[in-house]
Symmetry: C2
Protein backbone atom coordinates (compact mmCIF):
# COMPACT_ATOMS: atom_id res chain seq x y z
CA UNK A 1 0.00 0.00 0.00
CA UNK A 2 2.24 2.83 -1.26
CA UNK A 3 0.00 5.60 0.12
CA UNK A 4 0.27 4.20 3.60
CA UNK A 5 4.01 3.78 3.43
CA UNK A 6 4.47 7.28 2.13
CA UNK A 7 2.59 8.62 5.15
CA UNK A 8 4.42 6.41 7.62
CA UNK A 9 7.77 7.37 6.13
CA UNK A 10 6.88 11.03 6.39
CA UNK A 11 5.98 10.53 10.05
CA UNK A 12 9.27 8.76 10.71
CA UNK A 13 11.10 11.63 9.04
CA UNK A 14 9.45 14.07 11.46
CA UNK A 15 10.29 11.83 14.40
CA UNK A 16 13.99 11.79 13.56
CA UNK A 17 13.93 15.52 12.90
CA UNK A 18 12.35 16.51 16.21
CA UNK A 19 14.32 14.10 18.42
CA UNK A 20 17.38 15.73 16.89
CA UNK A 21 16.07 19.15 17.88
CA UNK A 22 15.38 18.38 21.51
CA UNK A 23 11.83 17.07 21.53
CA UNK A 24 10.48 13.70 22.60
CA UNK A 25 8.07 12.53 19.91
CA UNK A 26 6.18 9.33 19.12
CA UNK A 27 3.79 7.94 16.56
CA UNK A 28 0.48 6.76 17.95
CA UNK A 29 -1.02 3.33 17.42
CA UNK A 30 -4.33 3.13 15.57
CA UNK A 31 -7.32 3.54 17.79
CA UNK A 32 -8.95 0.50 16.18
CA UNK A 33 -12.48 -0.34 17.15
CA UNK A 34 -12.56 2.06 20.04
CA UNK A 35 -12.45 5.03 17.69
CA UNK A 36 -10.73 7.16 20.29
CA UNK A 37 -9.26 10.47 19.16
CA UNK A 38 -5.76 9.98 17.86
CA UNK A 39 -3.30 12.36 16.25
CA UNK A 40 -0.52 10.95 14.08
CA UNK A 41 2.23 12.23 16.37
CA UNK A 42 2.57 13.47 19.93
CA UNK A 43 5.52 15.65 20.83
CA UNK A 44 6.75 16.94 24.19
CA UNK A 45 9.53 19.33 25.03
CA UNK A 46 10.56 22.87 25.97
CA UNK A 47 7.50 23.13 28.18
CA UNK A 48 5.11 22.44 25.34
CA UNK A 49 2.93 19.58 24.22
CA UNK A 50 2.06 19.40 20.54
CA UNK A 51 -0.08 17.02 18.49
CA UNK A 52 0.56 16.71 14.79
CA UNK A 53 -1.39 15.38 11.86
CA UNK A 54 1.14 14.64 9.12
CA UNK A 55 0.27 14.60 5.42
CA UNK A 56 2.53 13.99 2.47
CA UNK A 57 0.61 15.32 -0.51
CA UNK A 58 1.35 16.96 -3.84
CA UNK A 59 -1.70 19.02 -4.68
CA UNK A 60 -2.96 22.60 -4.85
CA UNK A 61 -5.14 21.94 -1.81
CA UNK A 62 -4.90 19.92 1.35
CA UNK A 63 -8.15 18.72 2.92
CA UNK A 64 -8.51 17.40 6.45
CA UNK A 65 -11.75 15.62 7.23
CA UNK A 66 -13.84 17.31 9.90
CA UNK A 67 -13.87 14.18 12.05
CA UNK A 68 -10.08 14.10 11.95
CA UNK A 69 -9.76 17.75 12.91
CA UNK A 70 -12.25 17.27 15.73
CA UNK A 71 -10.00 14.53 17.10
CA UNK A 72 -7.11 16.96 17.17
CA UNK A 73 -9.31 19.52 18.91
CA UNK A 74 -10.08 16.99 21.64
CA UNK A 75 -6.35 16.78 22.32
CA UNK A 76 -6.27 20.58 22.47
CA UNK A 77 -9.34 20.90 24.69
CA UNK A 78 -8.76 17.93 26.99
CA UNK A 79 -4.99 17.63 26.87
CA UNK A 80 -4.00 21.26 26.43
CA UNK A 81 -1.95 20.45 23.36
CA UNK A 82 -1.07 22.77 20.53
CA UNK A 83 -2.36 21.44 17.20
CA UNK A 84 -0.47 21.49 13.95
CA UNK A 85 -1.01 19.96 10.54
CA UNK A 86 2.37 19.15 9.01
CA UNK A 87 2.09 19.18 5.23
CA UNK A 88 5.00 17.66 3.38
CA UNK A 89 5.00 18.95 -0.16
CA UNK A 90 7.39 16.95 -2.33
CA UNK A 91 10.57 18.90 -3.06
CA UNK A 92 9.33 21.85 -0.98
CA UNK A 93 9.69 20.45 2.52
CA UNK A 94 7.42 20.63 5.54
CA UNK A 95 4.80 23.28 6.27
CA UNK A 96 3.42 23.48 9.81
CA UNK A 97 -0.07 24.94 9.69
CA UNK A 98 -2.43 25.83 12.53
CA UNK A 99 -6.10 24.81 12.35
CA UNK A 100 -7.38 28.39 12.23
CA UNK A 101 -5.61 28.89 8.92
CA UNK A 102 -7.81 26.28 7.25
CA UNK A 103 -11.14 27.18 5.65
CA UNK A 104 -13.97 25.14 7.13
CA UNK A 105 -16.81 24.05 4.95
CA UNK A 106 -17.85 20.42 5.10
CA UNK A 107 -14.21 19.70 5.81
CA UNK A 108 -11.10 21.76 6.48
CA UNK A 109 -9.04 22.83 3.49
CA UNK A 110 -6.16 25.11 2.66
CA UNK A 111 -4.43 25.97 -0.58
CA UNK A 112 -0.74 25.33 -0.94
CA UNK A 113 -0.26 29.02 -1.59
CA UNK A 114 -1.93 29.96 1.68
CA UNK A 115 -0.10 27.18 3.49
CA UNK A 116 3.20 28.67 2.37
CA UNK A 117 2.12 32.11 3.63
CA UNK A 118 0.71 30.92 6.95
CA UNK A 119 3.04 28.09 7.85
CA UNK A 120 4.84 28.43 11.16
CA UNK A 121 8.57 28.36 10.43
CA UNK A 122 10.23 25.24 11.72
CA UNK A 123 12.69 27.40 13.66
CA UNK A 124 9.80 28.81 15.65
CA UNK A 125 8.54 25.32 16.42
CA UNK A 126 12.02 24.08 17.30
CA UNK A 127 13.09 27.12 19.23
CA UNK A 128 11.90 28.31 22.60
CA UNK A 129 9.66 30.94 21.04
CA UNK A 130 5.98 30.69 21.87
CA UNK A 131 3.52 30.63 19.02
CA UNK A 132 1.46 33.65 19.98
CA UNK A 133 -1.27 33.52 17.40
CA UNK A 134 -3.38 30.73 18.91
CA UNK A 135 -7.06 31.59 18.62
Amino acid sequence: MPGYNKGANAERELIRLFWGKGFAIARTAGSGKNALPMPDLIMLGKGRSIVIEAKAWRSKYLTIRSEQMEELFKWRDVGGAEVFVAWKYPNKGWFFIQPQDFVKNTHYSISFQKAQEKAVPVDVLFGGQQVLSRV
Copy 2:
Protein backbone atom coordinates in the same frame (compact mmCIF):
# COMPACT_ATOMS: atom_id res chain seq x y z
CA MET B 1 0.11 -14.46 21.18
CA PRO B 2 -1.79 -14.29 24.47
CA GLY B 3 0.93 -12.36 26.28
CA TYR B 4 0.81 -9.59 23.72
CA ASN B 5 -2.97 -9.38 23.77
CA LYS B 6 -3.05 -9.26 27.53
CA GLY B 7 -0.71 -6.28 27.48
CA ALA B 8 -2.58 -4.53 24.69
CA ASN B 9 -5.90 -5.09 26.45
CA ALA B 10 -4.49 -3.67 29.65
CA GLU B 11 -3.31 -0.60 27.76
CA ARG B 12 -6.74 -0.16 26.19
CA GLU B 13 -8.30 -0.42 29.63
CA LEU B 14 -6.11 2.45 30.84
CA ILE B 15 -6.97 4.49 27.76
CA ARG B 16 -10.71 4.22 28.40
CA LEU B 17 -10.20 4.93 32.08
CA PHE B 18 -8.18 8.11 31.61
CA TRP B 19 -10.25 9.55 28.76
CA GLY B 20 -13.19 9.17 31.13
CA LYS B 21 -11.30 11.11 33.78
CA GLY B 22 -10.38 14.08 31.67
CA PHE B 23 -7.07 13.15 30.12
CA ALA B 24 -6.11 12.75 26.47
CA ILE B 25 -4.16 9.52 26.15
CA ALA B 26 -2.81 7.39 23.30
CA ARG B 27 -0.90 4.20 22.75
CA THR B 28 2.33 4.60 20.84
CA ALA B 29 3.27 2.69 17.71
CA GLY B 30 6.34 0.47 17.86
CA SER B 31 9.53 2.26 17.08
CA GLY B 32 10.57 -0.50 14.69
CA LYS B 33 14.05 -0.41 13.27
CA ASN B 34 14.74 3.11 14.45
CA ALA B 35 14.78 1.97 18.07
CA LEU B 36 13.66 5.36 19.28
CA PRO B 37 12.58 5.69 22.90
CA MET B 38 8.93 4.81 23.25
CA PRO B 39 6.68 4.51 26.29
CA ASP B 40 3.54 2.37 26.04
CA LEU B 41 1.22 5.32 26.63
CA ILE B 42 1.40 9.11 26.49
CA MET B 43 -1.13 11.12 28.46
CA LEU B 44 -1.84 14.86 28.52
CA GLY B 45 -4.18 16.87 30.69
CA LYS B 46 -4.60 19.13 33.71
CA GLY B 47 -1.36 20.84 32.85
CA ARG B 48 0.64 17.64 33.04
CA SER B 49 2.29 15.28 30.62
CA ILE B 50 2.79 11.70 31.71
CA VAL B 51 4.37 8.68 30.06
CA ILE B 52 3.35 5.24 31.19
CA GLU B 53 4.81 1.78 30.88
CA ALA B 54 1.95 -0.67 31.43
CA LYS B 55 2.45 -4.21 32.69
CA ALA B 56 -0.15 -6.86 33.42
CA TRP B 57 1.65 -9.38 35.57
CA ARG B 58 0.83 -11.79 38.39
CA SER B 59 4.05 -12.26 40.31
CA LYS B 60 5.75 -11.31 43.55
CA TYR B 61 8.11 -9.06 41.62
CA LEU B 62 7.90 -6.81 38.61
CA THR B 63 11.07 -6.24 36.62
CA ILE B 64 11.60 -3.49 34.05
CA ARG B 65 14.61 -3.86 31.82
CA SER B 66 17.16 -1.09 32.20
CA GLU B 67 16.97 -0.21 28.51
CA GLN B 68 13.23 0.19 28.83
CA MET B 69 13.49 2.43 31.89
CA GLU B 70 16.14 4.52 30.15
CA GLU B 71 13.69 5.13 27.33
CA LEU B 72 11.16 6.46 29.82
CA PHE B 73 13.85 8.68 31.34
CA LYS B 74 14.52 10.19 27.92
CA TRP B 75 10.88 11.26 27.82
CA ARG B 76 11.34 12.76 31.29
CA ASP B 77 14.62 14.51 30.48
CA VAL B 78 13.85 15.65 26.94
CA GLY B 79 10.07 15.96 27.06
CA GLY B 80 9.59 16.97 30.69
CA ALA B 81 7.14 14.13 31.25
CA GLU B 82 6.35 12.46 34.54
CA VAL B 83 7.12 8.74 34.41
CA PHE B 84 4.95 5.99 35.84
CA VAL B 85 4.95 2.24 35.63
CA ALA B 86 1.36 1.00 35.76
CA TRP B 87 1.28 -2.52 37.15
CA LYS B 88 -1.98 -4.36 36.71
CA TYR B 89 -2.12 -7.17 39.21
CA PRO B 90 -4.98 -9.56 38.40
CA ASN B 91 -7.91 -9.09 40.77
CA LYS B 92 -6.08 -6.29 42.60
CA GLY B 93 -6.30 -3.51 40.05
CA TRP B 94 -3.74 -0.97 38.90
CA PHE B 95 -0.72 0.29 40.82
CA PHE B 96 1.00 3.44 39.57
CA ILE B 97 4.63 3.36 40.62
CA GLN B 98 7.35 5.96 40.17
CA PRO B 99 10.81 4.93 38.94
CA GLN B 100 12.56 5.91 42.18
CA ASP B 101 10.57 3.26 44.04
CA PHE B 102 12.21 0.48 42.04
CA VAL B 103 15.46 -1.14 43.14
CA LYS B 104 18.10 -0.86 40.45
CA ASN B 105 20.54 -3.67 39.97
CA THR B 106 21.09 -4.96 36.48
CA HIS B 107 17.47 -4.06 35.89
CA TYR B 108 14.76 -2.29 37.85
CA SER B 109 12.59 -4.39 40.11
CA ILE B 110 9.98 -3.94 42.79
CA SER B 111 8.10 -6.38 44.97
CA PHE B 112 4.34 -6.45 44.85
CA GLN B 113 4.30 -5.67 48.55
CA LYS B 114 6.40 -2.52 48.07
CA ALA B 115 4.38 -1.59 44.99
CA GLN B 116 1.23 -1.64 47.09
CA GLU B 117 2.89 0.60 49.69
CA LYS B 118 4.44 3.05 47.25
CA ALA B 119 1.83 3.21 44.51
CA VAL B 120 0.42 6.62 43.79
CA PRO B 121 -3.33 6.44 44.35
CA VAL B 122 -5.26 6.75 41.13
CA ASP B 123 -7.22 9.64 42.63
CA VAL B 124 -3.98 11.59 42.93
CA LEU B 125 -3.15 10.88 39.31
CA PHE B 126 -6.66 11.73 38.16
CA GLY B 127 -7.14 14.76 40.36
CA GLY B 128 -5.46 18.12 40.14
CA GLN B 129 -3.01 17.28 42.91
CA GLN B 130 0.64 17.47 42.03
CA VAL B 131 2.81 14.48 42.76
CA LEU B 132 5.36 16.14 45.01
CA SER B 133 7.80 13.32 45.56
CA ARG B 134 9.62 13.40 42.25
CA VAL B 135 13.33 12.92 42.78
